[in-house]
Symmetry: C2
Subunit: 457 residues, 2 copies
């Protein structure tokens, strides 16, 4: 029973890494085999991600390609790229032979152009080679780029018994049989069956009597995000992919969609934090700088804008109005926060497809919401300034401006992502420093302008 | 073939809603049936989410409980709650009878305490009732709260042929057969089989010869996020749930995990934007205020803090140093942005389990990164101020302060989530207004302090 515990209880400890490193240094292949053979390939990938390149390549060359192909798929993309650089075209082709077509195509597509051809030329299985070449032709952001050619297909004219016999061969090649796709003699998808249906059915029944014709499918050129939405909405675990003539080309499984959803969520999250380009904490300082600096630069330009505005109001620097300048960080912060809140909820709603109703009704709702929040906050701020400074007029001017700034920030935060979305631009870019920065500047401008009017200076 | 297009091509149009509303008003049940019977239950749920309560209840009462039970599961939680309020305990029990145990338990757990018992009492199937009652006892954030009792189970002593015969009955009750779990006579989980293995095997083989003993499983009290990580890491589509004596209790399927991952991502995204409590764009203004106002209030308090600091430096308000005050929004924005960038990448790394190495090495890396970014930005700012104001000293003072502020902001952004995580607090709260606000204040304080030193005033 102890064996069963391994996967769940796998812990990547320093001791474990040190043991692996020691065995590699000693070239103690026997002990290394004994140690690593216990682990799941996903765990070995975690270990390799901690080793240096030379050590990782050593382990990859030591183990069977049946295992290393799976390990390679689980490695960090950066590390995989480096490891592959250290393998010959022949060695990569051996790994690729062991992989399903979708994973095989993914690995090959990560290689430089010239190596791609060299690796493909080395693949021995002609059918596998042809299928991978077909998959490489699709854009990676489409259903074609995500699908695998491995699937179980039966013809509508078969019987259950004949079907069971015939699919045995196909099923051996397919890691997981989610659905059995039923095609007519032109290879057009006409429905599906589950293995369960087949097992529960009587052996003399015809497939055409059992087939569920109401099958979901996607077109090979559909966007992966669209595919993910369909699969999540209808709780599908696999979906067949067809061309525009309804010819069955492949299938996409839910585990690939889980990855798409996670990457999507990670990307949006980073975008909201002002980070672009799918970086990780472990990436190099240069990569992280490239991902972060442009947004910081935007913030800097925004700050300079705020400076220019304040300098324009320098004339206010007389008497009690000086206090206005001390509240600019507060105004900028509130404008930024409200803008991010409003845009985040719209961006999320758009991603989950539950933003309905007209733009106007959204804006009216956000205006009411921002006004409510703004007034509550302004009352608090008014009481503070009045108590602290004893200046009724100044307190009033700052508080009223705050309400106006919050309402405008909320409206911009609502409008911008809706506008971008309508224009076909990813609205997620609106949640980050973009909205904060523009709201900062506009907020400060509005603030001085309104306060000046109220104070009559 | 046209039928197959429906699900993918379903469009929620105003015309469609109006037609449904018209049929309801006319009580034209025949046409309503004809229209709705074409749609997938997930699509009908989308339609119902657009209707008013009375209309939605009308449709629910019209359709078969076999369909409405699935529709109910797909409704917005708020709408489901309202619809259920309008159904009798008997009617809810009928819906529940049609659902798998996990969904049934979810629906019942959403009801008020007193109704829960009334509904359970009305469930006719005694086994279903007992299983639901068992599931209701588990915390919803644990594996027990997510699992279903429906699974296909065989004993290790059976043969393939006997197994096929015996599982036919079980499989009929299980919507999707991912894996067949093999138990010993004490009901302890000892391994698994796939339907594919069974089909490929010879009928006289013993199950104990086919069983894969290296099966992943989770404990019934494990946290759902932990379960999601395990399933995503090992690409599992279903995982068995056991108690601490290894007795097989249920199974969790990947579609539930997809929901957990999405909710988790949505929650983190909202947290980063300063929104708590899992709200949607369509929620009421009051609900949205409750989710947003506390964070805005935090920002307000931070702004007041910045005001107090600036007032403390009021003495600087002489001559050329006045310009320092005009750059406070810039300093605050940069401190906030850098803090959010650093914390977001750590929070994400922690969520994906790929933050390794010591806290110190993280901090050193972030310091170098922030210094690099800070110096680049500071050079730009220096040149701008020098060119615009012609004040070398002031330009130097502001630029040097900016570098210091950025480094400190980066360090805080890195340290806080790591610290919270170590304390067992969700580090995601560190990415939102919390880090922005504290960095704003600290940044401004540091800025004035350093600038004052450099300018010698």
């Amino acid at each position: 029973m102890s064996e069963e515990n391994e996967n769940i209880q796998f812990q990547l400890t320093d001791e474990l890494i040190e043991r692996v490193e020691l065995f590699i240094e000693e070239e103690n292949d026997k002990e290394l085999h004994k140690l690593l053979d216990e682990f799941h390939y996903a765990d070995i990938a975690e270990i390799l991600d901690e080793l240096n390149l030379e050590q990782a390549v050593y382990v990859i060359k030591l183990l069977d390609s049946e295992r290393t192909s799976d390990i390679l798929m689980e490695l960090d993309e950066d590390n995989r790229e480096k490891v592959l650089k250290n393998l010959s075209a022949k060695e990569i082709a051996e790994e690729v032979e062991e992989l399903d077509t979708d994973d095989a195509a993914d690995i090959i597509s990560e290689l430089p152009e010239d190596r791609q051809q060299a690796v493909i030329a080395q693949i021995e299985d002609e059918e596998h080679k042809a299928e991978i070449t077909e998959l490489l032709a699709y854009d990676e952001d489409t259903a074609g780029g995500l699908m695998a050619k491995e699937l179980v297909k039966v013809y509508e004219t078969w019987t259950v018994a004949g079907c069971m016999r015939r699919i045995r061969g196909q099923a051996e090649e397919v890691t997981r049989v989610h659905s059995i796709y039923v095609v007519n003699k032109e290879e057009k998808l006409i429905g599906r069956l589950s293995l369960k249906d087949l097992i529960v059915a009587k052996s003399e029944q015809k497939i055409s009597d059992l087939v569920k014709v109401n099958v979901d499918y996607v077109n090979v050129h559909d966007d992966v995000e669209e595919v993910a939405k369909v699969m999540a909405k209808y709780d599908l675990e696999a979906i067949p992919v067809v061309d525009r003539n309804q010819i069955l080309l492949g299938r996409i499984t839910i585990d690939d969609i889980v990855d798409v959803l996670r990457e999507e969520a990670d990307k949006d999250y980073q975008m909201a934090a002002g980070i672009t380009g799918d970086v990780e904490a472990d990436d190099s300082i240069l990569e992280l700088t490239r991902a972060r600096l442009p947004w910081l630069f935007l913030g800097l330009v925004g700050g300079i804008g705020a400076f220019l505005i304040m300098e324009g109001f320098e004339g206010l620097f007389t008497g009690k109005a000086v206090i206005l300048f001390f509240f600019t960080p507060l105004i900028a912060a509130m404008a930024g926060n409200v803008g991010v809140q409003s845009s985040a909820i719209i961006v999320q709603g758009l991603a989950n497809d539950d933003v309905r109703g007209s733009v106007n009704s959204r804006l009216i709702k956000e205006m009411l919401l921002a006004a409510l929040n703004g007034i509550i906050l302004a009352i608090f701020l008014f009481l503070f300034i009045w108590a602290f400074e004893g200046e009724l007029n100044t307190a009033l001017a700052i508080s009223v401006s705050l309400v106006a700034v919050i309402i405008v920030a909320g409206l911009i935060g609502t409008f911008v992502p809706l506008f971008l979305n309508k224009r076909g631009i990813d609205p997620a870019i609106a949640t980050g420093p973009f909205i904060t920065t523009s709201n900062d500047i506009l907020g400060i401008l509005l603030y001085f302008w309104i306060a000046k009017m109220i104070l009559g200076i």
